[in-house]
Amino acid sequence: MNTLDGASRRSFLKQVLSGAALLSACGGRKLLAAEPGETAAKSRVVVARDVQLRGTGSTVESGRMLKLLDRAMQAQFDRDKPVEAWRRVVLPGQTVGVKVNTLGGRGIASNLQLVEAICERLQEAGIKASDIVVLDGDSEEMEHGGFLVAMGGDRVQCYGTDRTGYEQELVEQGSVGSQLSKILTRRCNVLINVPVLKDYDGAGITCALKNMYGVIHNLNKYHPNGCNPYIADLNMLPEIRTKMRLTICDATTVIYEGGPGYKPEHSWKHNALLVAQDPVALDSVGWQIIERKRAEMGLKSLESENRALRYIATAADLEHRLGTNDPRRIIKVEV
């Protein structure tokens, strides 16, 4: 049996505490996923915009979207090359779930070009195409949102939980007791959240944190009281919080009133992405984007309409610590 002598033991502990052991275990690359319950001193939220994202038409141009994504990721992870940024999020051999939002239908579903760009960069970072699963609750809704359902083969996978079902066992956390999508539990060990940003009657807005409603079977039970504390409790589930690596919010088209269904008369082409590892901070920034637009359009604030985002405060509280909603601790980087 090998034992460490005193000096070796102290050296080992020092290494562990400094993260060097983790570095070594990960082949020299440090993963920047936040530990469950841990909050960084400050949270960086990158807002990347391209006013020419759609060129002269109405459709997002793939090339410009890729560049926008690259700019956002490089700014988030302070890297010169996009693939280096992605390697801070994923490792070869992992299976990556890309959780999109397609409930609102085409027009307000997670942008196809964005998801394609994400999948492209993931593969460059060493993830096999077949180990990428674009997922949501229902395959038909995904198709209505413009996605091509694909199961099996060497390509990027794309399907809803209707194809796999939910786990039979319930998982519980606080106010939430649900069955989880088998795509989440059995198919991916890393999660990238790709929500859309829109006004949402019950909770105020729907963005990063609420996008996780799409992986549970009984989401309808968690809408009372502005979805509070359900949203926060849901995101505390170990199966979610330990796999979640990054949020890339599609703010290319944003609804400022009347969501979650697509309301062209109450939406605008913001042509932006919000990128963060702190979903609470990201939702806070997204909230302010919507509030500014509402003010510009002469609408009352969400708070005035009794739709203040209580769930954000809960997600940031001491019990949950999913991130920060304190503007003094959010570094907003606009690129």
């Binding site: 229902d138 039979q168 009657d201 079977h217």
Partner: protein, 399 residues
């Protein structure tokens, strides 16, 4: 409703050696595979449709415009079916998970969408003062408008319809099946029938046209207009009164007590035969004070002749940490209700307990003896009176 699943399990343990527990997942697997709905008493309920298969989410056959809602601006709607009054945006569903706003029109997604069907003894509902010894063709869908942490049927009540295998069973077909199985009654049960009110109403009409009665097993969490329209078609109603405490309703049921009490009063005014079940959860709703308040309220607002069933809880869903209700607790509850002056207080889910029998409140003679789910002796006269002292025994006793 909540007790039926557990009663089924209890029955299968005592009566059928070949299966220790009969859970709903096993049942649905067999029912879908065989295209038949099997009664847990071993009685096939006959095929609902040939070659049953999983239904697609958007199967138009099940989608019917809802009743009891109000259109609002921005394509929103306000549901007026139950006290939640969900304000539902376009492409969203209400709390129940089975009613959906599509472009500003509200739809039920579960009309004729049956995911559970059995032929059950009427005593299993439980209804003790309604056609004893007969059977009810019983059905349910997905969905519920509350989320009781002790729900015995949570795997269907808390599910969305597309998550559960179902059969297409239009009202006429249900009536045919009930007749084929010699059931004088159709029972709407298993999940919460409030949320499939449209289907319930249409099926009750089809049943009445065929000479069949209808009964409902419900949480009573429904608005008055819908109550009068839907349960007005029922021939008997069993209400699950979960507790006599608003905080319990808020924390354990995610509902409210007062609307349920209002429902009971309205049913009385409507002249509907009503029985009440109170599921006793150890430490949560089993205090003497609560039993006393409950019994006193029933006596004052409904009368002493409303049957009250205190039933035993078997751990399930999100309250598996609680023990089975001690029989002594149920007997204590019964003693308190008896002392308050209620005439028909029963103990449920304890097969063989003498408090499952019906006794004349005047002469105390045994009138209906029950063994398990079977009324083994029924002595009430055709005019509904005690054969010994002629005291009227309220109920619906004969077909």
């Amino acid at each position: 409703m909540f007790g039926e699943h557990d009663l089924q399990a209890a029955e299968s343990r005592t009566m059928r050696g070949e299966r220790n527990t009969l859970d709903r997942r096993w049942f649905m697997k067999c029912a879908v595979a065989s295209g038949a709905a099997l009664g847990t008493s071993g009685k096939p309920a006959a095929e609902i449709s040939s070659g049953g298969s999983m239904q697609k989410q958007d199967d138009a056959r099940f989608v019917v415009e809802a009743k009891f809602y109000q259109k609002l601006a921005n394509k929103k709607i306000k549901c007026k079916l139950c006290p939640r009054e969900c304000a539902v945006g376009d492409r969203e569903r209400g709390y129940c998970g089975v009613r959906e706003n599509r472009d500003g029109t509200y739809y039920t997604l579960v009309h004729s969408r049956v995911c559970a069907a059995h032929v059950d003894p009427i005593e299993k509902k439980p209804l003790f003062h309604y056609l004893p010894g007969t059977e009810a063709f019983s059905l349910g869908t997905a969905g519920c408008n509350v989320n009781c942490k002790f729900c015995q049927n949570w795997d269907i009540s808390q599910a969305r319809p597309e998550q559960i295998a179902a059969e297409y069973a239009p009202p006429q077909r249900v009536a045919e099946l009930a007749k084929q199985n010699n059931c004088p009654t159709i029972a709407y049960t298993y999940n919460e029938p409030v949320i499939y009110s449209e289907y319930l109403m249409d099926t009750a009409d089809a049943g009445h046209a065929a000479g069949l009665r209808s009964i409902v097993v419900s949480n009573g969490y429904i608005q008055e207009e819908a109550l009068r329209a839907a349960y007005g078609k029922m021939d008997a109603v069993k209400i699950d009164l979960k507790s006599f405490s608003e905080s319990y309703y808020r924390n354990v049921v995610t509902g409210q007590l007062k609307p349920v009490l209002d429902t009971l009063v309205t049913l009385r005014k409507m002249g509907k035969w009503t029985e009440i079940v109170y599921l006793v959860l150890p430490t949560l709703n089993d205090s003497d004070a609560e039993f006393r308040s409950l019994a006193s309220w029933i006596k004052t607002y409904l009368g002493v002749d409303v049957p009250l069933h205190f039933t035993q809880y078997h751990p399930e869903y999100l309250l598996k940490n609680l023990p089975i209700t001690p029989v002594a607790t149920l007997e204590r509850a019964k003693a308190i209700a008896d002392a308050e002056g209620l005439h028909y207080v029963y103990i449920g889910n304890v097969p063989g307990h003498p408090a499952q029998n019906t006794y004349c409140p005047k002469c105390r003679k045994l009138l209906v003896e029950r063994v398990g789910f079977t009324a083994s002796k029924m002595q009430i006269r055709k005019d509904g009176s005690c054969p010994f002292c002629k005291h009227p025994i309220p109920g619906v006793w004969h077909v």
